[in-house]
Symmetry: C2
Subunit: 109 residues, 2 copies
Amino acid sequence: MAIEHALPGQIIDVRPLANSLSKGRTTALFKSIDLEVLRLVLLVGNTLPPHKVPGEITLQCIEGALEVTVEGTIHVLRAGQLLYLAGNALHSVTALEDASALVTIALKR
Amino acid sequence: MAIEHALPGQIIDVRPLANSLSKGRTTALFKSIDLEVLRLVLLVGNTLPPHKVPGEITLQCIEGALEVTVEGTIHVLRAGQLLYLAGNALHSVTALEDASALVTIALKR
């Protein structure tokens, strides 16, 4: 299913996927001038390998649990918790449980 | 109570304030190089008058309901909903119910 990116002022649903989480997938919500926002879906045991982006990031766990390793330090992020990463911080993410998270990236231009 | 701003990698609690919402107040969570994040607390009937900032904003309702007027268009934002505003968009916010929201601002430097 192709998802259209949201426009300014358009309401975006960021509630837990709950029963449909196991069939969910990572979805770009919008990418604009200053910000990009996506919902990351990561099922238990799956990993985003180490990567980095130039701008700062917030990572907000919506449901489940994620292990976030930032420059070698491990953080566990559960539903209702947020952390932010400095620009160019090398990070990887592993799902400890099926999880979804809102990822907000500051775009550098 | 003075709240220290969070540092990169520090876990920030963004769960609903729930029973303590009526005694809550707007709190800066962090302000860094590219991003500023705060929890807005607005009790029923209260309004943030029209204002704008240079960078894009996301506004994510955590609990309650907010009426967000953006350049003259009214949006109602409920728990689990997010919208983003273009940079320099004139907006005001009124609480339809006691509400808290996560506000992420792209900083322009």
